[in-house]
């Protein structure tokens, strides 16, 4: 069978593939990013490409309009290669995947709010409550050379010297270290630096180096989200954050939610591909962080990861199949510390990889880390943590108890499953105001770029604005109003946010009734999860003193608008605390303190998991929440939408 050359523009990358492969699969092999929310099933219509030259065979799709087909537009996942090709990937199919700009990362981590809600995402993680005892410690030792009176062996000598400085009861050392030990000690004049790593309950001598390298001890904290991967380089000696980087999780090419990815993992080489994709993204972040800070990769001695249960399985290349099958069991929630190299992470080859323990198959270590960083288990008052994401997790509790639930909210707030939705990246409309009567729209985009689509926070502002100006009824239907922005489209009535002249793509940016329905379901799932959990504990929202809003998306939330659409409970605005990426903050705390690690283990053990899918009342609450702001308006006293 023949091989053909495929060239992708504007990347200008060429790859040779066999005849009959899809354009999407060629793009993945070439390292070229094309959106693909459905994982190549041909249903989402996000992978539109323009075939400039060459022969293809394409299955018909309702996602391609006849006039688009005439222009040579195809869905990459349904189109197979029959000759050498030149393929252009239009802007709408390629969100800047490689990197977020520093601005965007700052936004993601610090939070971004409207003038009236100018609240900074609180680094609750900054609280110095845990003693400094990082996952990896370096000790410089000057050993007394042996003589006839002091005849203990080299290894025992090393242990004795360590124990003179630190109270470390149990130690282990790998054979490779012992093999070199005798020569190393003598060649370095008995002056060496040992790297000690915490491996669960024991301490391991990870590495022995000649001379004093103890000032160079670095570690990494990672949050592995379904959508975004964030990494932070930390100086383990002085707890300083040296840099933070984020990139999209390229696993999105295999499906935008964890379930689709678990299904993909079951295909031939599926797990392998998912594993490599996440590791590549992480290594890329690590490389850049290390380069920018001029650090030798060999001085990065450990990495601490927080992620949902599925992400952690894929990171470690552990089959996630049984997470999806009743009774939904993970292979491991408490994963022992392993060597990072075993999973393909490129730091010091003997460096350690540790993962924050998870609670259940659908409440993972990212939530444990979130609870840790918000210090909920130290609070006397009742707290609620809401992680607004594809899998909306909710944790209720205090010093007394912790209970969690996960609701499948769907990816609408992350810009998937909505026609003009994009993830919160460059050009995403993130802040919107709609004028009364004229319905004129003013908006801000991330990076002040030309708009490419709407991200979650933009949708919240839009819905709130549409309700307030009377464009939308409480059921989420667009009213018949004569305006150039309101018209009938393919997906029911739609409201135009940006006309095509002002966009980065070739079509209008709109919100349709179908989109609104999807967002309504997502917000209903999250709100009803929270209220079901609160009622299950025989409590009331009013009893909750602090509500932590987390998630890459959550940092952009306009609280008032989020309450107006019924995503968040209607409480005094002062009770809401933005924590930005609480998962990354928690991971960093654990990286820096063994005490925090022990606390995370306690949290994960202590937290109970409340299964919503079998709870009859959840469905009832969900139906009641499928309204703006809610069927029970008495629960939203501050909202007066006419």
């Amino acid at each position: 069978m023949g091989k053909f050359k495929i060239t992708f523009y504007p990347d200008n990358k060429t790859i040779e593939v066999e005849k009959g492969k899809t354009i999407l699969s060629a793009a993945i092999s070439a390292g070229v990013y094309i959106n693909s929310s459905c994982g190549g099933d041909g249903v989402c219509g996000r992978c539109k490409v323009i075939v400039k030259r060459g022969q293809v065979v394409s299955q018909p799709s309702g996602r391609i309009k006849p006039e688009e087909r005439k222009q040579g537009i195809y869905l990459a996942c349904l189109t197979t290669i029959q000759s050498d090709l030149e393929v252009e990937i239009p802007a709408e199919s390629r969100i800047d995947m490689d990197k977020l700009t520093q601005d965007e990362i700052d936004l993601r981590l610090k939070g971004l709010f409207s003038e009236s809600e100018d609240v900074q995402a609180q680094e609750s993680a900054g609280k110095e409550i845990f003693s400094h005892s990082p996952l990896a410690t370096k000790l410089y030792l000057e050993l007394p050379p042996p003589n006839l009176e002091d005849k203990i062996s080299d290894l025992e000598r090393l242990y004795r010297q360590i124990q003179r400085i630190r109270e470390i009861p149990i130690m282990q050392t790998g054979l490779s270290n012992i093999r070199h030990l005798g020569e190393l000690l003598r060649n370095s004049d008995w002056k060496v630096t040992v790297t000690l790593g915490k491996r669960n309950e024991t301490t391991e001598i990870v590495l022995i180096e000649p001379g004093d390298t103890s000032v160079k001890n670095f570690g990494l904290a990672f949050d592995i989200g379904t959508t975004t991967i964030s990494g932070q380089l930390v100086d383990l000696n002085n707890k300083k954050i040296l840099g933070t980087k984020a990139t999209y999780n390229k696993q999105a090419s295999f499906g935008s939610d964890v379930i689709t990815r678990i299904i993909y993992a079951q295909q031939q080489d599926g797990l392998e591909k998912l594993h490599h994709t996440v590791i590549d993204s992480m290594n890329q972040i690590i490389r850049e962080l290390v380069k920018e800070n001029n650090i030798d990769l060999n001085n990065v001695n450990c990495i601490l990861c927080a992620g949902n249960t599925t992400m952690v399985h894929l990171l470690l290349k552990v089959d996630p199949t049984y997470i999806r099958k009743e009774p939904y069991i993970a292979t491991a929630n408490f994963v022992p510390t392993t060597r990072a190299a075993e999973s393909g992470i490129k730091i010091n080859p003997r460096g350690l990889l540790s993962c924050v323990p998870g609670v259940s198959s659908y409440v993972g270590g990212d939530i444990t880390a979130g609870v840790l960083s918000c210090a909920i288990e130290d609070e006397e008052d009742l707290c609620l943590l809401i992680d607004v994401g594809t899998n909306g997790e909710v944790v209720l509790g205090s010093r007394e108890f912790l209970i969690s639930a996960a609701a499948s909210a769907g990816p609408a707030f992350e810009g998937s499953g909505v026609a003009c939705g994009v993830r919160a990246g460059r050009g995403a409309i993130q802040k919107v105001k709609i004028a009364a009567k004229t319905f004129e729209v003013s908006y801000d985009t991330i990076g002040k770029a030309n708009p490419v689509g709407i991200c979650g926070s933009g949708y919240i502002d839009i819905l709130s604005g549409m309700l307030e100006t009377g464009i939308l009824d409480k059921d989420g239907k667009i009213k018949e109003i004569s305006s150039k922005r309101i018209r009938d489209g393919e997906n029911g009535r739609e409201f135009v946010i940006v006309f095509k002249e002002d966009t980065a793509s070739s079509s209008d940016i709109v919100i349709s009734e179908v989109d609104i329905e999807n967002i309504k379901r997502a917000k209903a799932a999250i709100y009803s999860a929270a209220i079901t959990l609160v009622k299950h504990m025989e409590l009331d929202f009013k009893d909750i003193k602090k509500i932590f809003i987390a998630g890459g998306f959550g940092t952009y939330l306009n609280i008032d608008n989020a309450i107006k659409i019924g995503l968040l409970p209607d409480l005094e605005r002062e009770r809401f605390i933005f924590v930005g990426n609480s998962s990354l903050a928690g991971a960093r705390q654990i990286l820096l303190s063994y005490e925090a690690m022990k606390r995370a283990n306690e949290i994960a053990r202590k937290m109970s998991y409340f299964e919503l899918s079998t709870e009859v009342k959840y469905m009832d609450e969900y139906m009641a929440a499928l309204f703006f702001p809610h069927t029970d308006l008495a629960n939203f006293p501050s909202i007066k939408i006419k």
Partner: protein
Amino acid sequence: MAQELMLEKWSSAISVVNIGATKEEGGSRSKVIKVGGQATLPFLFPEGSIPNKPVIAFEIWDSAPMDWPDTLKQPFADVLNDPLKWAKKCVDDFKAELLCLKLQGAHPDSGDKKPDDEAELVERILKTVDVPLVILGCGDDAKDNLVLPACSEAAKGECCLIGSAVQDNYKTLVAAVLADGHNIVAESPIDINIAKQLNILISDMGLSVERIVIDPTIGALGYGLEYAYSIMERARLAALSGDKMMACPFICKVGQEAWRAKEAKAKMTEFPAWGPEAERGIAWEAITATALIQSGADILVMRHPAAIEKVNKYIDNLMTNDKIPMSK
């Protein structure tokens, strides 16, 4: 020792809906039917007032029903083809105090009658009889949006009860009812949340919630009756506890559901053990109705005069005794 009843105190009551307008009120009905107004759960007289009795609306059609069983056709055999005579027979022979005109013939699949013709029919019925009128569309959204506004206009001033508004199609009907001074039936699919959401949407358009009658959708005996019961009970508990958006009377389409049951229409030749179908169908409709009365139904749309007679007796029995009635 005298026993003391534990009494529940409710903070609110169901709203009263007036169906029909007399000459003084700008209409031509001989009297007004009032429904609702209860300040307690069904028939718990010691706990609160029950000012209005449940009423039965005789169901008549704009065209001869094809799929009604013989038992049901028999009492109206001579008038099924003539809605005017049918209406008159209900009022004159069976003492109907309320009629429910079902515009089934407007459905594209069963006659596709024109809006103007249906409007004329409404006008003529109002001239033929002087009882208040309930008007129900054919259930095809697009067609109802043409037919019902025409009928609403034709009956302007008569304060009819017109339906049904549903969550995905309520705006046209609400606008018509608002313009012509009628009441509206808000129908939801056995779902208390949707019932309330629809009432909010309707009242957001400016039609007072006091002019809404809820059709909770019911099932006949053996076909989900208990489900309807629990939805109605939950709605009533919410209403009596102060939820204004739920404080509407109920209309229940008893005849339509009861006569769909196999047990109501199957012939004795098919199921000898079930006994004669003439009695069975009537009993099925009557029992469904009485159970729904106990669930809080205010208007019962029924079909067979014999069933209606039984249920009317039952209602009288319940209402004449201001104590909790004993079974006889």
